[in-house]
């Protein structure tokens, strides 16, 4: 009889025993060759692909090392890269403050301030910071910038649309429905294409909008529609008794919504919102089709350099690892938030 709870969960029942054996066999089959390629026979230093092939049979990480800065900053000028670092640290700090799970209005103000400061930092042109055109932004930095701004814009837009969809005013309701269903109904790739490539056709002659701004607008509107549906799901989960009670206490309609219904709905929507944030972060890779070089774009681009071409496996493995880690951070933050709010409630 197996007593230890840990062992019992692994080999306690026949099913568990079988599962464990299968998992172990799978690991034994996958891990050794994977380890050999990833680390065992990997080459860390070589001038080009031929050098790698001569030095070992594993992955050619020299490729990643040679272009490491490019993967993270794109062609952002080297002496200015501290601005990107600082901006990222600020964003991270604000995120950590948010994880405490308290202070709604203050948090909103904090994030607004951080995004404004970051925008000034990255763009420059004031306070003695040299101007850096967005054409020089690239790599992972671009993924972070686009997702941060798009999520910041999509959240309020989503809240407004979710309430709009439940509004008693027919035009507002139908307008919200049309907006949400349009954006949810079209593939992001095609609207990005319309927005980035065909936008000049829809603007007065000679008027141009920065490519990155176009991508940001499209992503914000797109994710806003998804946000609206997630929050609507949350709104449906708030028992009607809550708003009835609030009204009975003499609150007016705005207060009922903002102070009673919305906080509860948002709490219920946290997993969905995290899903959207993770999705958005990965969707930012699509901007490469419109000529912006995000991390994935830089990797693809790097494979065209004749000294490194043919190293697709290394490039995409690296990108997948970076994306996995980044998204894992968002995901874990979401789990923490969920737990904090759940404890506060029950």
């Amino acid at each position: 009889m197996i007593r230890h709870p840990f062992l019992r969960a692994l080999v306690g029942t026949r099913l568990n025993l079988a599962l464990t054996v299968v998992m172990l066999a799978l690991l034994a089959w996958v891990v050794p060759p994977l380890y050999g390629w990833l680390l065992g026979h990997a080459v860390w230093e070589a001038p080009n692909r031929a050098g790698c092939a001569a030095a070992g049979s594993g992955a050619c990480w020299a490729f990643i090392r040679a272009r490491f800065a490019l993967f993270f900053y794109g062609i952002y000028p080297e002496p200015e890269r501290w601005r990107v670092d600082l901006g990222f640290v600020l964003l991270l700090a604000a995120g950590l403050v948010a994880l405490r799970g308290r202070g709604g209005a203050k948090l909103v103000a904090l994030f607004a301030a951080v995004i404004a400061i970051d925008a000034v930092l990255l763009v420059g042109g004031v306070f003695g910071l040299p101007f850096v055109p967005t054409a020089q932004w690239g790599g992972l930095m671009l993924n972070v910038v686009i997702s941060a701004i798009a999520i910041a814009g999509a959240l309020p837009l989503g809240i407004a649309l979710a309430f709009g969809r439940r509004s008693t005013y027919p035009i507002i309701r139908l307008g919200s429905i049309a907006f949400i269903e349009f954006w949810r109904g079209v593939p992001l790739l095609t609207v990005l294409f319309m927005g980035l490539i065909l936008l000049p056709m829809f603007l007065p002659n000679g008027m141009t909008v920065d490519n990155l701004v176009r991508a940001l607008v499209v992503m914000t509107l797109f994710e806003g529609a998804y946000m609206a549906e997630t929050i609507r799901g949350g709104l449906q989960g708030v028992p009607p008794g809550q708003s009835e009670a609030a009204r009975a206490l003499g609150m007016h309609e705005g207060q009922v919504r903002m102070k009673v219904v919305l906080p509860q709905a948002l709490r219920l929507s946290i997993p969905g919102i995290i899903n959207i944030a993770v999705d958005l972060f990965k969707d930012t890779t699509l901007v490469s089709i419109v000529g912006l070089f995000d991390l994935m774009g830089v990797v693809t681009q790097s494979l065209k350099d004749t000294s490194w071409s043919g190293l697709a496996a290394e490039g995409y493995t690296f990108a997948a690892i970076v994306f996995f880690l980044s998204c894992l951070v968002i995901s874990l933050a979401g789990t923490v938030l969920e737990r904090r709010f759940a404890v506060a409630h029950r």
Partner: protein, 352 residues
């Protein structure tokens, strides 16, 4: 029932809104040729930077090095044009364009010139309002196949499946070739060469097709390059070159003559290294080429040093080719891309 009724009602309303939007699109159909947009060269000088549309990345033509600097044959052309027009080869904003977007961004005026391994076809020329001003690379579509198949010419590919990159004339050429020879060749279309090549190596298709310029580079990146061979025959003509909007002849003339100057440089032995000494040459053609005699630059609305600067910045056509396709790079024989007097196709107009 009422539920379905409301649903239909709502769907109808949305459908009507969509239809109205689409109708607006159709309503734009009535349009005619109007006055051309303002002179492109003036706009570039005022802006101080050349907006050059390039590929998002293709070996030999346009790619970024480890430091993120753009390199390649097409890039050198952008630099030469910027040197001629603005006096500085660095004053170029490279606008990477995808195959699907390239002509649209040129039409919409976001770029001044498109140098992106693109071929002008009849329908592109007439329907898109574009001109190919000059050819900077003569390519043709070829096949890379597994040696074990025992195929020696393209016509043997009857019944084979070929992996193709979509978004170019490649797939259409195969269809035309199959139609003309009566062979049935299946195609498998991919977005990017990386997946197409991986599928080919896994045996999903029997071969891969691309421009001759790219095939040579592609073969060297395969796991076992010796298992594969490039068929000698090309099934299409792909004159890749410089594209500009129709309607600004002055700008097109500048582009055309920059190209001519780079090729003439090779013909008369003017290189990046010796262009300064050539200013004291005795050959009148050379003196015109480096801007000591005549006023060719002025006639284009530029200054007389324009062609000197272009060659000084990137070298002559032969040097550019060697840098990216020569034995030390992709190792592709010059073939059609040699001068006319060396068996190639580059035959320039006289400088007088």
């Amino acid at each position: 029932m009422t539920m379905i009724g409301t649903m239909l009602h709502r769907a109808t309303q949305l459908g009507l809104a969509t239809a109205a939007l689409l109708a607006m699109g159709v309503g734009m159909a009535q349009a005619q040729l109007a006055a051309p947009p303002g002179p492109t060269a003036e706009a570039i000088k005022k802006r101080g930077v050349l907006n050059c549309g390039v590929d998002t990345g293709v070996p030999g033509f346009a790619f970024q090095d480890n430091a993120g600097k753009w390199k390649g044959l097409d890039i050198d052309y952008c630099r030469a044009i910027a040197a001629a027009v603005l006096g500085d080869p660095e004053k170029v904003k490279y606008v990477p364009t995808t195959a699907a977007a390239r002509f649209t961004v040129l039409q919409s005026g976001e770029i001044d010139v498109l140098i992106r391994d693109s071929t002008l076809t009849f329908s592109r020329s007439t329907q898109l309002g574009l001109d190919e001003v000059a050819v900077n690379f003569y390519a043709g579509q070829g096949f890379l196949v597994r040696k074990a198949l025992g195929v020696s010419k393209a016509a043997d590919l009857q019944g084979a499946t070929i992996c193709v990159i979509t978004g170019a004339t490649l797939e259409l050429n195969i269809a035309d070739f199959a139609r003309s020879t009566g062979a049935k060749i299946g195609t498998l279309l991919f977005d990017k060469p990386d997946e197409a090549v991986a599928a080919m190596e896994a045996g999903r298709c029997d071969g891969y097709t691309d421009d001759s310029g790219s095939l040579a580079g592609m073969r060297s990146t395969l796991k076992v390059p010796n298992d594969w061979m490039v068929l000698p025959e090309l099934i299409s003509k792909e004159p890749l070159g410089i594209h500009a909007r129709s309607g600004d002849p002055r700008w097109q003339k500048i582009l055309f003559w920059v190209d001519t100057m780079l090729k003439s440089g090779e013909e008369y032995g003017v290189t990046q290294a010796n262009v300064d000494q050539m200013k004291t040459s005795k050959d009148p053609f050379v003196l015109r080429l480096v801007g000591v005699e005549g006023d060719f630059g002025k006639q284009l609305g530029l200054d007389n040093e324009w062609s000197y600067r272009a060659i000084k910045a990137v070298g002559n056509y032969g040097e550019i080719y060697d840098r990216h396709f020569g034995p030390k790079a992709l190792d592709l024989p010059r073939g059609l891309n040699n001068l006319w007097n060396k068996g190639g196709m580059h035959y320039t107009l006289p400088l007088r």
